[in-house]
Every structure is written in C-alpha cells, then in structure tokens.
Symmetry: C2
Subunit: 322 residues, 2 copies
C-alpha cells in the first residue's frame, strides 16, 4: 500500500443514445460519454490518520469514509480504494460535477472511475483503462448489484460505444460531432418498474411487442452506420422514430413528451428519452451548437422552474468526432 | 324510370378505429359506422321539370344538380341517381349532418349511400344493402378515383367492420358499446402525401418500418378479439400503442398529439389519430358515457376555438353492441 493519490482525475457521464429497453432482449444499444462528468481533486489532510473526506457539493455529498458507515457511496468508495491498494485515511477529495446524480447519466460510475484513476499506481503513468474499469465495477456492484459494466466502460473511455448483452462494448467512430442538449425531467426514473412493465406488455401482446423490439434493434444498427458516415439527417429521423417506439413500449412520461416537443419546437432535429424512461432524462439532438443554444434558451424561457434548479437544468454537451 | 323518391333516408359516417396505413401493406383494419352521419329528406318541387336541388347547410352545400356542372358533388349525385334509375328533376333534397365533411369521416360515402336509399325502388321495400353500396360506389368513384369500398360499406351497414385489402368487409360483433369522442383537428388531412411518406420511410429503413407495420397488423387482430370479448382495458391499451406506432410511421401531427394528450388528461382511456393523419381527426376512447362527457367538457374549456366551430367541434358518439 502507498499513501499517495493523484492530484486530480476525471471521468465521463453516460447517456444512452439509442436502444434502451430493447437491449434487455438482446438487441444492440449505443451510449455516449458526457465530458461534463466529474473531476476529483485530492489534497492531503494535516492528520494522515484522519478518515478520508469526500465532498461533492453538486451532488449534495459531504462524507467521511468510515468503515462503519452503511452509506452506499462510502461503501463503494472504500471498496474501490481497497481494490486499488490505496490509502483510506489522510486525504480530502473534492469533486466538481457537470451532471446531476440519480438521473440515469452514470454518476455512480463516473465517481468510481475517477476515484480509481486517483488511486491506481498514483506515482506511475496514467492507469490502464481496463484496470480502471475493473476497479470501478467493484464500486458499481455496491450501487447496482449486477451492473452490465456499460456505465463504467463509458465513464472511463468516453466517445460513443455500441454494446449488446453478453458482447461487451465496442467503440463507434463518429464522422462528425453530435450536439446534444440533455434535459433532466425532475421526475424520478424507475428502472426496475419500467423494465418489468415492458416485459408485462410483451407477455400480454407478444405479436405486437416483439416486432416493436425488433424495430428498435434494427434502428440502432442503421443509426450506428449513419453516425459512422456522418449522415445527420438519418440519425435524427431514427432518433425521433425511437422515441415513438419507446412510447409504444409504455416507457415515456408526459413530462418527457413535453420536453421533447418543446425541444423540437425550438429547433432540435430530434428529441427522445434516454435510459429507462418514466422520468429521468430526455435529450435533444441538434445539427449545430447554435441550434443547441436555441433549444437551451427556449427551454429556459418556457420551463424556467426546471432551468433554475441545478438538478434539472438542461445542459448542452458535444460528443466529439473520433 | 319512376318520378318518385323516398321521403327520408340516412347513412352512417365512418371512423377508422385501428389499422390505418398498415392496411395499405395488407394488414387488417377496423372501422366503425358513426350513427351521427347524414339524414336526407326529399320533397317535390312545384315545377317537376326544375333541376333537382341539394341543400346540406352543415356541409356548406346548396346546389342545383345540373348536368353541365363540374362540381364533384353534383356529378356524383347525378351519377348515383342515374344508376338508380331515379328522377334528376322536380325534387328538393335537404340534409341534416352529424359530422363535418372533408375530415376523413366518410362524408362523401354517407351522401351517396343516403341518396341511393332515397332513390332505389322508392315505392318498394327498404333497398337491399348490397345494391345501396353498389350505387354509392358510383358516386365514390367521382370523388376518390378508385375507392376501396370501405366507406360505402360502413356508411350503409354501420357497426364495426374488419377489412383487409382484397378481402372486403366483415362485420365484427361488439360485446359492449364503444364510447368515442371524435376530435377534428381543423388541420386538413393529406392522405396521398402521408401514404407516400410512409412508403418513403419504409424504403429508407425497411428493417425498422416493416416490423412496425407487422406490429400494427398484429395489434388489430388482438384488439378485434378484445372488442368481441368486451375486454375494454385491452382495447384501450392497444389503441394507445397504435397511436405511438402511427407516430413512428411519421403520420401524426402536433395538433393531433395535443388533442390526444388533452383527452387522456381529461379521462379518456385511449386517444389516437384516425385515418391518414397529418391533420384530419383523432378520437378518444372512453370507458363510459360520463367519461366521454368529461372529455368533451375538458376540450371545450381548453380548446374553445375548436369547440366553437361546427367544422372542428368535438362530438361524442356511441358504437352499439351487436
């Protein structure tokens, strides 16, 4: 065990672009890293035996990492640090965030990835990404039981990734950047309930819902090709179709529908929910940064109560071409 | 040729319940007769050689049936009367309507069916329905080129009918009445444009759109069984899914989406567009007449400009159990 940590490390947030829900049935999905994620900075405490401190004001976290705690963030951080053979006393870690927590944007994976990067071999070169993902998964298991690993992969690697159940992640090359406006709804998402709801609807109407899931899967394959070739119009059209198919699965929500309609009215080329739905976030896909700025301005004007709260304020993010 | 007409005859309007657009690709659809259709009353003119008059104030029609006219209503009516071996002079026909014209609710078929009923063997028994449909088709061809015959069948027979391309109409037995609120959008429908738009989207993304069309077709089969067994919850759930699938085909419209959202907020169990979409009408499906009244009241309050205009005023209609 060393007593050191790196000074600073960061991780991406995550947004599912396409394929949520159908991915449960073996179809592919696409997720992107959000560079507005988390930056952690570490500085030594005067008392090197004092418990580690973790303060992330943007997520309302101000914790001491005590082994006796049953706070999931404390438990996850201690597990990650132990996995990395890192100190668990004598440091204060402060975090700057660029995304809300608990909104399906991969905040827990961003935390464990950034923490692993602070902790793995802090006096050596930048840690290997596979090792970072592995350490992050130790924390993710505390939060999510049996996580797919997608969030950790995207938090560590950024960019756009294709994934399918049992096949892991594959980086997707973007021919052109994607300009998104992320729109948290302020309505809590209910992943388990919604996944179960889709399954129940499929059990009731298999001949209706199975083809819808097939369409969702085919849509992701086609959209991936369009992303790789820089065919923005196709990506946008398919993202809009995806929103309607997700609605047919029963996982949208009036607040998400409202945000999507507003974004389209203010110049977005497409808008859809992301993740489990039933709350959580939607995103708008814009052709240019100027369009994204217009969507943000329109949302601020028409839904000022969301824009005023940092937990629900829409924000623009660019997914870089690779 | 006789110089007589019946005193009075009526016909139903038509509303497509489920299966619009996918019916173009060979899948089944369901349509219902709207008893609020058209009542025609005939009275002799003093001058038996004066041209026939047709006045339907609710559809803004006040016409003399002159052979020299190129007004499609005049031409269609004269063709129907000639087909029925009926007089074309000496009568005034006045119509009371219960539905707007040009909204995809089968107004032209209602006119030709009611006219055929006035005209076929007016001193004999009620005319045979097949003969009425055949006469109506003579008029429908003037309006629509190569009509499917569905509108004429439903206008003449009422009730709920299943139909599929090349297979004609089949009556569906309802275990319980269906309570609808018909909601004209006031936006002109564009049947040809929308049918072509679906085809273009299918040509671009066959692996996405073909399964959506399959889902639409399977949905109609399942919903028909639910209508026959009186399983209202299933009918409503599938009608809502149908609206999302139609949106995925690209045929909804913000005004239709708005009307559907309003109807659901005011107590409808389901709401969807009907017919070609892109304008035209939507309908709400309600569990009880009281629910339908609440939806009507809510629409009148929130969209008073639509309610104030007879061409766009929402109206409740009951499809009887059989």
């Amino acid at each position: 065990m060393t007593l050191a940590l790196r000074d600073q490390a960061s991780a991406c947030g995550k947004i599912i672009l396409l394929g949520e829900h159908s991915v449960v049935y073996g179809h592919p999905a696409l997720a992107a890293g959000l560079r507005r994620g988390l930056i952690l900075r570490a500085r030594p405490l005067a008392d090197r035996h004092a418990p580690m401190e973790l303060a992330i004001p943007g997520w309302n976290l101000d914790l001491r990492l005590l082994a006796s705690s049953d706070h999931p963030v404390v438990r996850a951080c201690l597990e990650v640090l132990a996995h990395c053979d890192a100190p668990v006393t004598g440091w204060r870690i402060e975090g700057d965030v660029g995304l809300p927590s608990g909104a399906g944007l991969g905040s827990s994976a961003a935390l464990s990835v950034a923490l692993a990067r602070l902790a793995i071999d802090p006096e050596g070169p930048e840690p290997d990404t596979d090792a970072v993902v592995e350490a992050s998964m130790v924390g993710e298991r505390i939060f999510h039981g049996t996580p797919s690993g997608l969030d950790s992969e995207v938090a560590a690697r950024g960019g756009v990734n294709a994934f399918a159940r049992g096949q892991g992640c594959e980086p997707v090359r973007l021919a052109a950047p994607l300009h998104l406006v992320v729109m948290p709804s302020g309505v809590p998402r209910q992943t388990g309930t919604l996944v179960a709801g889709v399954r129940a609807r499929r059990d009731r109407y298999p001949r209706v819902i199975d083809p819808v899931l097939d369409a969702c899967g085919a849509l992701v394959v086609r959209a991936r090709a369009a992303i790789e070739s820089g065919d923005f119009g196709t990506v946008a059209e398919l993202a809009n179709v995806a929103q309607e198919l997700l609605s047919a699965l029963g996982v949208s929500h009036p607040v998400l529908d409202d945000l999507c309609a507003l974004a389209l009215r203010h110049g977005a080329a497409a808008a859809k929910l992301t993740g489990a739905g039933g709350g959580g976030c939607a995103f708008a896909l814009c052709e240019t940064p100027a369009d994204a700025a217009k969507v943000l301005a329109g949302l601020a004007r028409e839904r000022p109560e969301l824009a005023a709260d940092p937990r629900t304020a829409p924000f623009a993010v660019e997914i870089d071409a690779t």
